[in-house]
Structures are given as structure tokens and as C-alpha cells.
Amino acid sequence: MIKSYKFRRHLSNFIIYLILGVMCIIWIMPFVYLVLHSLRLDGGVIDNGALLPKQLTFQHYIDLFAGNAPSGAGKATLYFPQWFTNTFIVACFSCVISTLSVLAVSYTFSRLRFGVRKTLMNIAMILGMFPGFMTMIAMYYLLKIMHLDGTLFALVLCYSCGAGLGFQISKGFFDTIPRALDEAATIDGATKNQIFWKIILPMSKPIVVYTVLTAFIGPWTDFILAKIIMGDDVSKYTVAIGLQKMISAEFRSSYFQQFMAGSVVVAIPITLLFLKMQKYYVGGVTAGGVKG
């Protein structure tokens, strides 16, 4: 009896390992393919019907960062280093502005009590329910009127302006810090300003890091807004739309490998950052689901 129970448990565990193993392979395979084929020597979309590359090379990465045209494509029309710099600049600036506004808004809603607090939070919730790109076309015209269309500054504005609306996760974090600390500080004569900078922020390092990183990653992954603002001006593209451009019908046959390499270059740092941050992410998902 005991034996058969043990046997059954082993069998079921074995089956589970098998299923999980197969699923892991399915989930990971595309990325392995991505990395392997970014190193493939032969150009083009397919490698003569072979799933595994026959010869490996770093040439595509070198081409990518040197801004060389892929062999046979003539002059380089797609200039990855430029995109990379663009995205980096935009990411840095919008990161600073977004982080400041997110932290300010979430501290306000978490700690300060004033008349229109509930109203403002409801307005923020309602604004979040409109489909995002409904306003993009208007945003574009607005920027055009300000003569900002096609500039990196416009992108910074667009990425950081709405940041204040995404306060839920950090507000949830601030809510968990005991209010007794605030009260003690107030009794000692601290102003709300001092409480924010000297008590709440030092205690919220994880959420500050989380906010900074999400704000920094945003511009690297957005591909709609940037495309609308930049239009056809390839030199002002960010990495995401640039890579998308590489596999458009026009460039796909020659730039496919650089697309693979570029994807790897963008994906690796973001993946590592995300794996570091995932515990906050889980907290945010579960908290957001219930609190709305």
C-alpha cells in the first residue's frame, strides 16, 4: 500500500517534470532561436532550411553598432547607434520627470488629506479607462502646433506627462508604512515636506528603484507614440520602432539579421532588470487587482 502510494507519487511527479520540461522548451525556444540566429553567418531571413545555424559570427552585432549596412544592401539607411542614443537620452529625461511626478502624486494620495483627494483619484481612474491611442492623434497635433513634432523633447514630454496617473503601485507601498512614524515626526516639528524627503523616501528605496526602472524601460519598449511623433524621419527613431522598421517589407530581406541582433541587445538588459524587480511586480499585480 505504502509502496504503491510512493510509486504513484513518483509517477505523477515524473509526468509533471516532463510536462514542465516540454513547456519550458516551448517557452524558451523562440529566444534561443533569436540568439542563435543573431549570430548566424549566412545572411537573409532563412538559412537554407536549417533550423540551427552552421557557422556563428559576431559580425551582425558589429555591423549594428558601427552602423554598417548589411552586406549587399549598399549604404546604411537604418542607423542603429543613432536610435540607441536617441532612446537613451529620452529614457534618462523622462525617467527623472516621471519618477518625481509618480512619487509626488502617490505620496500626496497616500499621506495627505485634503478636500478634493477622492475626486482627483476617481478622475485618475476614469482617465485610465480611455483607450490610450484615442488621444495620440490629438497629442500629435498639439505638439505640431507647438512646433515640437519630430523632436526628442516631444517624446520626453509624452512619456512623462501621463506618468502621474500610474501612482497605484507606489501608493500601495506608501500605505504600508506605518502612519505612527509621520505622527511622531509631526510632533517633533517636521513639516510634510521633511516627512516626505527624510522619512518616507528613505524607507521606500525598493519602490523608488522600481519606479525609476519602469520609467527608464518605458521608452525602450514603446513603438506607437514614437512612430506617430517621428513619422518617416528614421534618424529620430527610437530602438523599438527602428527594429520594427527593419522587418518591414522594404528592409526585411537585408536587415533581418541585424533585427535579430538588435532585439537581443535591447532584450538582455531589460530582461535582467525585470528578473530583479519581479517581486515588486507581483505585489503590484495582486494589489492592483483588489484595490482597483
Partner: protein, 499 residues
Amino acid sequence: MTYVEYKQLSPWQKFTYNFTKTIKALPGGLAKFFKGIGMAIVNFFVGIGKGFKFYGTTFVKGDWATKLSYVIFGFGSFHKGKYYKGILYFLVECLYVLFLIFFGAEQLYWLPTLGIIEQHTEIIDGFPVVVQGQSSMQILLYATLTLVVTLVVFIIYISNIKDAYYHQQLKERGEKPTSLKTDAKEFLDGKYHITLLSFPILMICIFNILPLIFMILIAFTNYNGTDHINLFDWVGFQNFGNLLNVVDSAKKAQTFFGIAGWTLIWAVAATFSNYILGMIVALMINKKGIKLKSVFRTMFVITIAVPQFVSLLLMSQLLAEDGAFNMLLAYFNGGVNPHINFLGGSALTARLTVIIVNCWVGIPYTILSMSGILMNIPEDLYESARIDGASPFKTFTKITLPYMIFVTTPQLITAFVGNINNFNVIFLLTGGNPSNPDYFNAGHTDILVTWLYNLSMGSGVQDYGLASAIGILVFIICATLSLIIYNNSKSMKDEEAFS
């Protein structure tokens, strides 16, 4: 049912009890929801009425300086010794008047007609000169801007009256107004919310609210990319009529209902496939005796971690006609590449592929959020079940499943709303293809939001008015769903059925 009776129910019965209760409460909840909206509107008008009352009584009670600040901003404050505030208010008024004279008034004048002058040629001094026509879009945008500015100035105007009256009362009590220095200090303490919120709110007003109002107004015009590019007119609810009226505007309405149907199928299929499969995988990973839990979890999480545009573009390439997936099939097909066009072939293949790829993208999210919940199921529930001789299958259906469903229902509905708006997966994988000639600028896999994108920013026929109308409809659907969850999740939380 009393509390004791409730506590004696098995988890499954508790769940069914709560579930039926929720369903029964739904009509009431809906009624409450609409009543709430009604009350909000009533309160709004009551608030306006109170505002008028305040406006009137203050005018009667105010001294001559307060009365004068009804016309000249900040006069009352200035007169009572609050100089900097009075000057600021007055500056606002001056700037607003200048703004109206040189800019706003003209825009508001053209707002009802949205401009009538087309581009035309005039003979000036015997030479034909091309005269630029008006741009309705520009007029509408500027007029919206003027209205928003006016609203802000109106709020400042009211606060100016309040301030004047406040200082009048202060003076009657024989007190002195506070100095600039104390006021500035107050902005770091008692009024700290104003300091912190002013910048984010300003940004949100300019780049979120202003465009939003503009686009909502666009929904009531005939602005499109074919015959109303520069000049367009107000058309009332015609765009909504076009979407919903099957008889008169057959093509647009047909597209709308077709796409809305597919959006619904897509949202249901995507949500539940992710939910159920993700739950199964999460259960497998978290099963007792399975080792390498974190390794498995990390493997799945990598899919989330890689930016979505990379993983989805990669998938679209793998599934292309000359992509890796077809080559893989060739190995099993005796070396003959079947060249299946997964994403652009027949409507059915494309739709199925999209749903399956969405599983690949979405299951890790479910695993991630479920793992935490699974670890929180009280162990004693399982122990007592084992002692009672329940089989693993029974424990699953009687304990794990009810618990999971109970805890994750709000998440499930949030995911449903998210899938209605799931732009990335559709756009990056198929871009709405294969195209459907019976549809108005849309394809078989287009959902409402990608259709919105096609109509406003994509290639092909553009119809901004229609796009905005779709946006508003999507908003109404999502907002209703979210508000119902929001109201119910609170009540669910208070129940604490599984405590």
C-alpha cells in the same frame, strides 16, 4: 444565513453561496451604479447652485473692495494688505483678457461652424494669389484650449472672491493677513498637496485631458481623411449612428458588429485560456515534492521580461510563411515545407494562431500572480482533507479550485478588460490581417482598438470621427465593467469567506 451556518459550509459551498449572492446582487449593483451616476449629476448641480448662492451672498455681505473684486481680480485681497496675492490675481486677469483678445475670442467665434473659408485663389493687384483656407482641426483644438483656460481662470476667479471675503472677515475681526513668508512655508506643510500635485496635474491637463476633450468633440464631427481633410462640420450623433445602424450605413455597422463580436470572442478566449492553463502550470510548479521551482518559474518569467515588442515581433517572424515554424513542420513533413501562412492565410488560422500565441505571452503572467496566492492556501485545509480520505483530485476540485477562483475573480475581470484593449498582441502579430473586403478598413483579426488605430493613424481610409466614436464606446464598455468590479470587489473583500 447566520454566521455560524456560513462557517459550517464547505469551501465549495461557500464559494457557490458567494457566487450566487454576487450574481443576485448584480442587478441591484447595476441599479446602484446608475443611481450613483444620477446622484453624482444631482450633486454636481446642487454644487453649482450652492456656488451661485455663495456668489450672491458674498456680494451682498462684501464691502466695496470685495464687491470690486467681482470685476477686478485681487482687488479685495490687495486692499486688505495681502499685496502679493492681489497682484497675482490681477496678473491672471490681465493675461486672460489679453489671451482672449488676441487669440481665444476668434477661436470661440469659429467654434459653432468650425470655419468656412476654403483654400481659394484671389485676384490681388491683378495677380492670382492662393489664400490659405481655415483648418477646422486647428480651430477646434484652439477652441478647446480656450475653454480649458477659461475653466481654470474661472476657478481662480472664484478663489479670488473667496480670498477677498476671507480677508474682509479677517479685518473685521481685527487680525492681520499672513505674510508672504508664512504662506510660502505653508506650501511645504499644510498645503503641501498643492506643491506636489500642481506640476503633475498641469502636465496631465495639457497632454491627457486636453487631447481627450478634443477627441471626444471630434466624435461629433465628420472629420476624415478623404473629403473633410481641412474643413469639417458638426454632425451630432451621426458617427455613433453609423456604427450601430445596420440598415443605412451597412458597411460601417457590419464592420462594427463583426469586430465587436470578434473582440468579445477574443477577450473571452484569451482571458480564460490564460487563466486556466496558467493555473494548471502554476499548480504543477507549486506542487509539493517538485524541485527546481524557481528555475521553472524564471524560465516562464523570461517571456514577460523580454519586452513585448521583441517577443511578439519575433513570433510574427517565426510564424511567417518562410519562418522557422514552417521549417520545423518540414522536418515532420518529409522535408517538404508546407508554407502555411499562419498570420495572413485564412481568417480561422489567423485567429487561432493569435489566441495560441497570446497563451505563450500571457500564461507566465498568470503563473506569476497565482504562485503567490497558491502558497497562501491554509495547509490545514489539505491536511484535514487527507485525513478524511479525499483523493488528490477531490482536494483539487473542493479546496484549491474554489479558493483560487474566489481570490482571483477581480483579477480575472481586470484581465478581461485588459484583453479588450490588448493592442500589442494583435497589432504586432497580424496587424489585423488577413484583410476583409466586407469590412470598412479592417481585417479579420482586428479588434476594436486596432480598428481605432487603423482609422486614425494606420494606412488606408482614415475617419477620425468614427475612430473617436469607437474610442468612446470602448471606454463605456470598459468603464462599466471596471466600476461593477470595483463596487463588488470591495463587498467581496469584506466577506472574508476564506479567512
